[in-house]
C-alpha cells in the first residue's frame, strides 16, 4: 500500500508515492534520480549516503522514506552556490582532498553540518565531526587539512 508524502528537496517541493518499507536512500536515488548519496554498506556503517533532514546529517540508508513527510531535505546537489562549488567545496578542490571521490558527497555533508554547528573547529573536533564517514583512499589528512584551511581563511576574512 503506497502513501503520498511531500517534502522539500534542496528547496523544491516534491511529492512522491512510497511504500511503508521503502528506504530514503533508495527513494532519493531510484525514484527521484538524486545520485549524490551513495550506498556503501546499507547498514549505517560508512556514511556515504549522508543527507540532511532539517539541517541534521542522517544516514539515508537507515531512514524510512515515509519519515521525511513534511521535512526539508538537503543533498550535495543543494549545497552548490550559483551553480558552482561553495567555499567548502572549493577548499576541498584546491587541496586535492579526495581521491576516488565516492565518499565525497557524504563527507561534504558532514563537514557542512560540523561548520554550521561550530564555525571554528579544532583539528580534533574536525576528526570527531567526520568520524562517521569512511574514506579508504586519503587517510583523511587532506580532508581535515582542507577544512582547517577554510576555517583559517574565513577567520582572516573576518579580521579584515
Amino acid at each position: 500500500m503506497e502513501k503520498s508524502i511531500s517534502f522539500l528537496l534542496n528547496g523544491e517541493k516534491r511529492t512522491v508515492e512510497v511504500s511503508p518499507s521503502e528506504g530514503l536512500l533508495g527513494m532519493l536515488r531510484d525514484k527521484i534520480g538524486v545520485k549524490s548519496p551513495k550506498c556503501g554498506c546499507d547498514r549505517g556503517d560508512c556514511g556515504t549516503c549522508s543527507v540532511m533532514i532539517d539541517g541534521r546529517v542522517v544516514r539515508s540508508c537507515l531512514v524510512l522514506a515515509i519519515e521525511v513527510d513534511g521535512a526539508a531535505l538537503t543533498t550535495l546537489e543543494g549545497l552548490l552556490e550559483n551553480g558552482d562549488l561553495n567555499p567548502l567545496q572549493k577548499a576541498f578542490l584546491n587541496k586535492n582532498a579526495f581521491q576516488c571521490g565516492f565518499c565525497a558527497p557524504g563527507m561534504i555533508m558532514s563537514a557542512t553540518e560540523l561548520l554550521k554547528r561550530n564555525s571554528q573547529p579544532t583539528r580534533d573536533e574536525i576528526k570527531e565531526g567526520l568520524a562517521g564517514n569512511l574514506c579508504r583512499c586519503t587517510g583523511y589528512t587532506p580532508i581535515i587539512d582542507a577544512v582547517l584551511d577554510l576555517v583559517s581563511e574565513q577567520k582572516k576574512d573576518r579580521k579584515q
Binding site: G40, D42, Q89, K95, Q99, C100, F102, C135, R136, C137
Partner: protein
C-alpha cells in the same frame, strides 16, 4: 631547478570538480531505463561440497522472474594468469559464498526473494581451510584437474597436489653462505587475510543486444583485460573481441580489488542469457568481503646467515600462501613476492620457496602491496631481532646491507638507480632515531620502529600502454587512455605530462575514464606502473603531436623546424624571437597559404609503451635468467608510538615515509598516496583481519565487525620525504609509488612495540588485546598458528 612548467607542480586534479560537486557517475549511478533487469546470486553455504542437484522450479514460478541460470548454461573456465576459475560453479563449490546460479528478475526485491527458493542439494565435503592441512600428503585435492589448466609459462603448478604454483629462487650457494655466517637466525611469522574495503562495492551491468554485441559497464581497474577475458570465456557463443565493449565509469576505490576479472564476468554472461535487456549485478557489502579477491594469508619461515659485523651472507625464505579456492590472479602475487622476498638487501646467497596453496577459502588476489606487505612484516621484524642479538643499531644494520644501484638482484639482473641510502638517512633524521623519549605518564611506553621497503611492478613482460591525443579548435586537448583513475590522480598527471610537452596548461586538458571501443589499449591499472607506463605512452603521443605541429608549420611557413618550440599554447622559434603562432589558429584547421589553400589538418597524436627489455622466462629451478621486474621503487619508513601498558592501545604521534619516486610529478597527489597508503597499512597491523569459522565461513563481512580506520585513527603527524634518483626510462624520470606507501606499515609498528615493551609479536594483526595479553605472558588462541609440516623442510637441501 628543473625548468619544468607543469611537472612537479601540485596541479589541481582534473577530476576534482566532478567528484566534489557530486556530478561524478559511478556504476550504480548510471541509468539504463525501465528494461533494466536485476540479478541475485545463489551462493554456496559450504566451503567444499559436491553439487548433487539444483531445482529452480519454485523460484521460476515467482512473478517477475525472467530467467535462472546455473553452471549448466556456462560451463566455461577463465582466469588472468591461469584458467582455474568458473563463471558459475560446476560440479563442486570450493568456498562459502561461491556463485552457484543467478536469478534474473524485474526488480532486485523479486530476484532476492526468488533466489531463496532455488534448492541446491549438496554432498558436503571436508573443507581444507589452512595451508598446513592443504600440504599434507593425504589432503583432499581441491582441483584434481590442476594438471590440465592453461597457465602462463612462468607458473609451475604441481599436479595431484594443492600447490598451484611453486616459485623457486636460487642464487649463489646456500651452504657456503651459511658456512660463512657466524650466526643463523631462524623464525616464523604469520599474516592473515585482509579485505580491500573500497567504499564502492563491485558492480557491473551487461547488455547483449539483438545484434549480438556485448557491452559491459563495470566498476573496474582493468577494462581492456576484462574485454579480453569476456571474449575468451564467451568465445563458444561466437563472441569476438570487436563485439565486446567495456565502459568504465568513475570507480569508487580499487586497491587491486577491481583488477582482473571477478564478479564482472557474471554481468557479461547473464547478459547473453537475457538478450536485449541490460542486467545489473551489484555486490552487497557482505559479498564485497567474501566474493571478490582477498589479500592472501601467508606463513613465512625464514633463516638468515649473518656475520659478526652484521653482513648478511645468506637468506632462506619459505612462504606458504593461503591462496584460496581459485588462484588465477593470486598465484602471480605468490610469484612476485617470491622473486623479491629478500627485501631491499644485498644478499649473495638466496634460497626462496614461494608456494601458492589452494584452500577452501575465498579466492586470493591482488591487493595494494601485492605480496610485499605480507613478506615484509616477517622479514623486517626479523631484521630487528638479528640486530638486537648482534647488538647492532637496527638502522645501521639495514644501511650496511641495503641494496644499491648495480647490485645483483635475486634473479640475476642489476638493481636500477636507487636513493635507498638517502631515504634511510633522511627518515632516521626526521624521526630522531636514537633519541629516546620517555612519557610523563607512567602507564605509557614509547617506542620507535624502522623498516625498509621495496616493490617492483608485477606484470607480464608485454604489459603495454597506449594513448591518443586530440587537439580541439581552441587548442584544448582530449587525451584518450584506458588506464583507470582509481583515485590515485592518474588523469591529472597525464594532463601534466602532455601539457609539459605541448605547452598547454593542464586545466585545458580533458582526460576521462575509458570505453574500450574508443580508447586505445591498456593492460590494467595495477602494479603502481601506470604513471610510468601510461605516462610514457602519453608523453610519446604528445611528442608525436608536437612533431606534426612542427612539420605543418615548417611546410606552410618555410621555416626551419629545428628552431621550433612550444610554449604558452603557442608555436615559437628559437631563431626568430618575434615569431609566435597561436596553436588555436591551426591545430584543427591548418595554416592558410597565400593562394587560399591550407596545409595541415587536425592534429592527433599516438603513443605506445611496452618494456621491450622485460622477460619472464627463466630457469624454473632457480629463477635465474629473465628480467621479470622492470624496476624497483625503494624507501624507508619509521614511526613513533605510545602504548598504554594496561590496555595495549597504541597511539601514533608521528610516522615518516621516505621513498625514491624517481621524480615528483605532482607533490600533492604523491603526499595523498602516503597519507592514504600509510593509514591503510597501519590498519592491517593494528586491527583489521578477516576471521573465518571452523567451516570456512567469513565471520566479519561488514564494517561493524571488520573495522577500517576513521578520521579519529589518523596519526598526529605524517611526514612524506621524496627522494629523486631518476628512473632512466620513466616519464621525466618518474617511477611508481602507489602501493609502496602501505607496505612498511606492519613492521614499523611491530618493531616499535618491541622497542617500547621488549616483546616481539610474530603474527598480524597486533591488536591492543594481543599486546595486553602478551604483557601478562599470555597468548591469544589464534595467535599461535600451526606451522607447515616438517616434511616441507626437505626441499631446503
Amino acid at each position: 631547478m628543473s625548468g619544468y612548467k607543469y611537472i612537479g607542480k601540485s596541479t589541481v586534479r582534473v577530476d576534482g570538480k566532478v567528484k566534489i560537486s557530486g556530478a561524478a557517475q559511478y556504476i550504480d549511478d548510471l541509468e539504463f531505463g525501465p528494461g533494466l533487469l536485476f540479478a541475485e546470486i545463489v551462493e554456496s553455504p559450504h566451503a567444499y561440497a559436491r553439487i548433487k542437484k539444483i531445482d529452480c522450479s519454485k523460484a521460476l514460478k515467482v512473478e517477475g522472474v525472467v530467467k535462472i541460470v546455473t553452471g549448466k548454461e556456462f560451463p566455461y573456465r577463465f582466469g588472468l594468469y591461469m584458467h582455474d576459475r568458473y563463471i558459475f560453479a560446476q560440479d563442486h563449490v570450493r568456498f562459502v559464498g561461491e556463485q552457484v546460479g543467478a536469478v534474473i528478475a524485474r526488480t532486485p526485491e523479486i530476484a532476492k526473494r526468488a533466489s531463496k527458493l532455488v534448492r541446491v542439494d549438496y554432498e558436503v565435503l571436508e573443507p581444507v581451510l589452512d595451508v598446513v592441512t592443504a600440504l599434507l600428503d593425504n589432503a583432499p585435492l581441491i582441483h584434481p584437474e590442476l594438471g590440465k589448466y592453461q597457465h602462463v609459462p612462468w607458473f609451475f603448478p604441481e599436479k595431484n597436489t594443492n600447490i598451484a604454483h611453486f616459485r623457486k629462487v636460487r642464487k649463489g650457494n646456500m651452504n657456503e653462505g651459511f658456512k660463512e655466517a657466524d650466526y643463523i637466525f631462524e623464525d616464523t611469522y604469520t599474516v592473515p587475510r585482509y579485505a580491500h574495503c573500497s567504499i564502492e562495492t563491485h558492480g557491473a551491468v551487461g547488455l547483449f543486444d539483438h545484434s549480438r554485441r556485448l557491452t559491459v559497464w563495470a566498476a573496474s581497474q582493468s577494462p581492456h583485460t576484462q574485454r579480453h577475458l569476456f571474449a575468451e570465456a564467451l568465445a563458444p557463443l561466437g563472441i569476438k573481441h570487436k563485439d565486446v565493449r567495456v565502459i568504465a565509469p568513475h570507480v569508487g576505490g580499487g586497491f587491486g580489488g577491481k583488477a582482473g576479472v571477478s564478479m564482472e564476468i557474471l554481468a557479461a554472461s547473464l547478459a547473453t542469457a537475457v538478450q536485449g535487456s541490460p542486467v545489473k549485478v551489484l555486490w552487497s557489502r557482505a559479498q564485497e568481503f567474501y566474493n571478490t579477491y582477498q589479500r592472501q594469508g601467508v606463513v613465512a619461515k625464514m633463516r638468515f646467515g649473518v656475520k659478526n659485523d652484521g653482513t648478511i651472507t645468506a637468506l632462506e625464505q619459505k612462504l606458504y600462501w593461503d591462496a584460496g579456492a581459485y588462484v588465477e590472479y593470486g598465484a602471480n602475487v605468490v610469484n612476485a613476492a617470491g622473486l623479491s622476498a629478500t627485501g631491499p638487501y644485498r644478499i649473495p646467497n638466496v634460497y626462496i620457496d614461494s608456494v601458492c596453496v589452494y584452500t577452501n577459502l575465498p579466492p586470493g588476489g591482488p591487493y595494494r602491496g601485492f605480496g610485499y606487505s605480507e613478506f615484509l612484516f616477517g622479514l623486517e621484524s626479523h631484521m630487528n631481532e638479528i640486530a638486537k642479538k648482534l647488538k647492532l643499531d637496527p638502522v645501521d644494520f639495514r644501511r650496511k646491507n641495503a641494496i644499491c644501484e648495480g647490485d645483483t638482484l635475486n634473479y640475476g639482473g642489476k638493481m636500477n638507480p636507487s636513493g635507498l641510502l638517502e631515504c634511510i638517512d633522511k627518515v632516521a633524521k626526521e624521526i630522531e632515531w636514537g633519541k629516546k623519549r620517555v612519557s610523563k605518564d607512567p602507564r605509557k611506553a614509547i617506542g620507535k620502529g624502522f623498516a625498509l621497503f621495496w616493490k617492483a611492478p608485477a606484470m607480464p613482460p608485454n604489459a603495454a600502454s597506449s594513448a591518443f591525443l586530440k587537439f580541439n579548435e581552441d587548442a584544448s586537448l582530449n587525451i584518450l587512455v584506458s588506464a583507470m583513475e582509481i583515485g590515485q590522480g592518474f588523469l591529472t598527471v597525464m594532463a601534466q605530462i602532455a601539457g609539459e610537452v605541448l605547452g598547454i596548461p593542464p586545466e585545458k586538458i580533458r582526460v576521462e575514464t575509458p570505453d574500450t571501443d574508443r580508447n586505445p589499449y591498456e593492460w590494467q591499472t595495477v602494479a603502481s606502473h601506470i604513471t610510468w607506463s601510461t605516462g610514457n605512452a602519453v608523453k610519446k603521443a604528445a611528442m608525436d603531436a608536437r612533431e606534426q605541429i612542427f612539420d605543418i608549420a615548417s611546410r606552410a611557413l618555410g621555416k626551419d623546424r629545428n628552431s621550433f618550440y612550444l610554449e604558452d599554447e603557442t608555436l615559437k622559434s628559437r631563431t626568430e624571437p618575434e615569431f609566435a603562432l597561436s596553436l588555436k589558429n591551426f591545430v584543427i584547421n591548418g595554416i592558410m597559404m597565400k593562394d587560399g589553400t591550407f596545409r595541415g589538418g587536425p592534429i592527433i597524436g599516438r603513443g605506445m609503451f611496452m618494456p621491450e627489455f622485460a622477460s619472464a622466462i627463466s630457469d624454473p629451478q632457480t629463477s635465474q635468467g629473465g628480467k621479470p621486474n622492470v624496476h624497483y621503487t625503494v624507501g624507508a619508513s619509521a614511526i613513533e608510538i605510545e602504548i598504554d601498558r594496561e590496555t595495549g592501545k597504541i597511539t601514533i604521534p608521528k610516522v615518516v615515509l621516505g621513498v625514491d619516486c624517481g621524480k615528483v610529478l605532482n607533490p600533492d597527489l604523491l603526499r595523498g598516496q602516503v597519507t592514504g597508503g600509510m593509514l591503510q597499512g597501519l590498519a592491517t597491523v593494528l586491527y583489521e583481519e578477516m576471521r573465518f569459522d571452523s567451516k570456512g565461513k567469513l565471520l566479519n563481512a561488514n564494517f561493524t565487525d571488520y573495522k577500517i580506520p576513521t578520521a579519529m585513527d589518523v596519526p598526529d603527524e605524517i611526514v612524506s620525504i621524496f627522494v629523486e634518483h631518476e628512473q632512466p626510462d620513466g616519464p621525466f624520470g618518474a617511477r611508481g609509488v602507489g602501493e609502496h606507501t602501505m607496505i612498511p606499515a606492519a613492521p614499523i609498528i611491530a618493531n616499535a612495540i618491541e622497542d617500547a615493551l621488549g616483546i616481539r609479536i610474530k603474527s598480524m594483526p597486533i591488536t591492543a588485546e594481543k599486546i595486553a595479553l602478551a604483557l601478562k605472558g599470555l597468548d591469544l588462541p589464534q595467535a599461535s598458528r600451526a606451522e607447515p609440516p616438517v616434511c616441507f623442510q626437505k626441499t631446503s637441501t
